[in-house]
Amino acid sequence: MGNEQEALNLVNEQVEYKWVGTRPIRPDGADKVTGRATFGADIDLPGMLTGVVIRSPHAHARIISIDTSAAAALPGVLGIVTGADLPELPNEVAAGGEAPINFRYVSENAIARDKVLYDGHAVAAVAATSVEIAHEAASLIKVNYEVLPHVINVLDAMADDAPVLHEGLITKGVEPAPTKASNIAGKTEFAMGDIEKGFAESEVIIERSYTTEAVHQGYIEPHAVVASVAADGMVNIWCSSQGQFMIREFCAKLLGMDIGRIRVTPAEIGGGFGGKTTVYLEPLAVVLAQKSGRPVRMVMSRGEVMRATGPTSGTHVHIKLGAKRDGTFVAGEMVLKYQAGAYPGSPAFLGGMTGFSCYELPNAKATCWDVVSNRPKCAAYRAPGAPMASFGVESAIDELAQTLGMDPLELRLKNAAKEGTATIYGPKFLQIGYVETLLAAKAHPHWSAPLGPNQGRGIACGFWFNIGGPSSASVHVNEDGSVSVVTGNPDIGGSRASMAIMAAEVLGMELSKVKPLIGDTGQIAYSFLTGGSRVTFATGMAVCDAAKDVVRQLRTRAAKMWKVTAEDVEWRDGSAFCTKVEEGKDRAPLTLAAIAHAAARTGGPISGNVSINAAGAGPGFGTHICDVEVDPETGATRVIRYTAIQDVGRAIHPSYVEGQLQGGAVQGIGWALNEEYVYDANGRLQNTGFLDYRMPVASDLPMIDTVLVEVPNPGHPYGVRGVGEVPIVPPLGAVANAVSHAVGLRLTSLPISPPKLLAAIDGAKAAG
């Protein structure tokens, strides 16, 4: 990364580290630039069959019957699975994985039982000796459907006369509980202060509705799995996911198996962004492997990925923001209506918890509606639920600044959350670095750079909690003094490098002698998945603890070799130093290698194994500045300059931290400008490929400048804060605000696609 970039970074705590904060080449890099790295679809076993899924062409239909006889009779077909092959699970919320989960929904989403609820919903799968035979067999499976009326959009789905997806779905969180089923799965409220009073005291009130469309995580690697069943029934799964332990737990739940009878080996993962935190193909592949007695590989096509996995919610967001004339925020209210897709579980409540959290707001209320409709079940997507609510709030603040004639950055600064600020969900913030990001933005040359005709500049901010949770790490000292660091989290963006850096820092040894490895579910203790921006924080903390334990052991071993006590041994720069001086005793420092060589004589292998439930994840805040240029005759918008600023705690490997900011910003830009799910009148997805699901391409973008603000998190040995989620929160507002200033119109509906923007521009002209 250019030094002109680093020059802008702000480091609040000057501590000299040997490795932390440096930019070494990632340990898994060579395999990934030479094509040797093994991703999910690259796994190949002897006798392996190919499995393909048969999917619903209807948005909503009852399955009358499934006739698999013709397919079963086809030579080369060795297994067929339908919903009837999976145990029927109780309709209850169980503590699972990340948040409480209704595994009945996960199961029915993986393969339908009595009803299909969206275009692309899996109804059966077949395994055969070749791809061609598998596809031919799929075409021979006859599904008899009774097509039902469908509903796609969130407001339509909430209407009284809307077709109901789940006959038994009674809205949670409303008193008294409704007596009749609806598509409204639940309502969650958060409140503080008294908004009626707050709005009464407000001198200016901005009130508007905003909409966003469903967007997909867009990882380039389609879901892929290989399942194999040993003669004793032991199940082996190889797949790319955000958590081998999550895959193991979900498959055990869905198949009614003991967790111990399943072993999951993580392949390299080709992007996830939250979209690979659940199962789709995995349980089907296991059943097909059980039925056929052969290993089975299943790989989704891009069309299957778009139709049946992800996305995140399309939303309707209503914001009311009240302030004093001097810009002091007094009251804020948001009503969030989020699509959950076919099964309950939208991140609406997370939108409610995060939307106002960048600001000091004495009176606030968020009402969050979770609504099902005939779309794929939504999955987590980077800061789930936060960007949509933030888009509304940051747009309203921008409009308030215009109304008050205030600088939008100063207005945010005036109301910025700081240590001690109360959040709408309850707790007060501890040490946070939000104000620092605003000050960095104010000082950045971008903020004061001149703009040309048809250009506009937008600023927006974002917040995410970040999480910790269960993580395990093993640090093994090898016979020659090299070190293996084993963790249980798939490396989705360079985390191997961070783990190695932290271990080498604690051990004071050469980084090149530390080899980070990712264990399968039998090689390392349970670790919660790679998500929630938790790995460098939580798993990193486990690695630090394990390495510290290794240092303790090394001192004890050195003490034995010197016949002194551990207290007489000091560990420095990867060697043991004896502090006890005795006449005639040569106690030259012992290197890690020397102690390792002698390990057998001093008590056996040296290894630190730590499992923790990490608390103390520091929240993250970001401030983004976006410049756009609009072609007023075509409605085309180009992002011409972009700067992402974030409080990252401490950057262990700054390049990969910058990469998180840049990648998140660009996903947000795509969300704001072109990405959207488009359904036809029959509820069939119209853009199932990258041709018409328009993710940003290289030529759409400028360089994405970053500023890393380092306000160390006291909850981590090196001050790490999660960084992955925050960067996708501000872009929606930043882009929309920039376009609004470029064309002199307030854009409230994403994506701001050219037809939509041109219609708005011409509409305003017509209105005069």
Partner: protein, 289 residues
């Protein structure tokens, strides 16, 4: 599942023979950028795929007295790399440079882009504006026709069984003439044209437009050659009034659809904008020639 056969004839006659003797549904393969997508999607399962890239005439770019004779299986990238051609016909070159990514441009061919029959094919309006003709060969001999007469509707052409386009006849650019092609897409690359315009015009010494051809893409079931647009330019110095008239004529000629790529209103308005902008570029080039 019915088998697919692959054949790579070395001459036009062999190719015609392959196609005529093949069971119904045989498909010609040039660049394959559309055919392979259809194959994978299971939209088509042809009994025979006839690869035309083994036929020398179809792979050649020849300079002739009349201009250029370009094989139908020449890839867009190969055409762009032909210095003399791109000097004379920057508009056509630009159009081919816009077809998909670098990867696609290395494969997609002139014949394929036309005969796939997409109303949004980038090269077609540019070829029509330039007055390009093509040679169609088949069991009943060969015939020559204007590019605008090949496609009849989305995915449909006048070609009959055993027929294929072998070559394109591109005239030498007339003196004081210039061409240009513009399209609108939501991103900067990788999209299918939402609306497009190809313009070729000639100016006299006084800078008055004496001849013009304007073609629009993605705004009707097939690429259009719009006489009213030419009329708006001919006799003018491409002043604002003439350009406004051109834009209006272009919009008036549109008969687009609403789909995931654009609305009727959007396509109609943008077609006019693009025609105006393309005409301005073409005129600058004409003045330079």
């Amino acid at each position: 599942m019915n088998a697919v056969e692959y054949a790579k004839p070395q001459s036009i006659d062999d190719a015609i023979r392959c196609l005529t003797n093949a069971p119904a549904g045989a498909r010609v393969l040039a660049g394959g950028t559309d055919l392979l997508v259809q194959l994978r999607a299971g939209v088509v399962r042809p009994p025979l795929i006839v690869d035309l890239k083994g036929i020398t005439e179809l792979r050649r770019i020849e300079s002739t007295a009349e201009g250029f004779r370009v094989g139908a299986a020449v890839a867009g990238a190969e055409l762009s790399e032909h210095a003399e051609f791109s000097r004379q016909w920057p508009g056509i070159t630009e159009a081919f440079n816009l077809i998909g990514s670098t990867q696609i441009q290395g494969r997609a061919t002139l014949g394929g882009n036309l005969c796939n029959g997409s109303p949004a094919a980038d090269s077609v309006p540019a070829l029509i504006a330039a007055g390009v003709r093509c040679i169609v060969v088949g069991p009943s001999g060969s015939r020559e026709m204007a590019v605008e007469d090949v496609v009849t509707a989305p995915g449909k052409t006048v070609l009959t069984t055993g027929e294929f386009v072998s070559q394109f006849l591109i005239p030498a650019r007339a003196a004081h003439s210039g061409d240009a092609y513009l399209r609108f897409i939501p991103r900067t690359e990788m999209d299918i044209a939402v609306a497009s315009a190809g313009v070729c015009l000639t100016l006299n010494a006084a800078g008055v437009c004496t001849a013009a051809r304007v073609s629009l893409g993605a705004v009707a079931p097939r690429a259009l050659l719009v006489a009213a647009c030419a009329d708006a330019l001919i006799g003018s110095t491409l002043d604002d009034a003439a350009l406004a008239k051109l834009a209006a004529a272009a919009s008036a000629a549109c008969a687009p659809i609403n789909d995931k790529r654009g609305t009727i209103e959007f396509r109609t308005k943008v077609a006019g904008v693009l025609a105006r902008r393309a005409a301005t570029i073409a005129a600058q080039r004409a003045r330079g020639n």
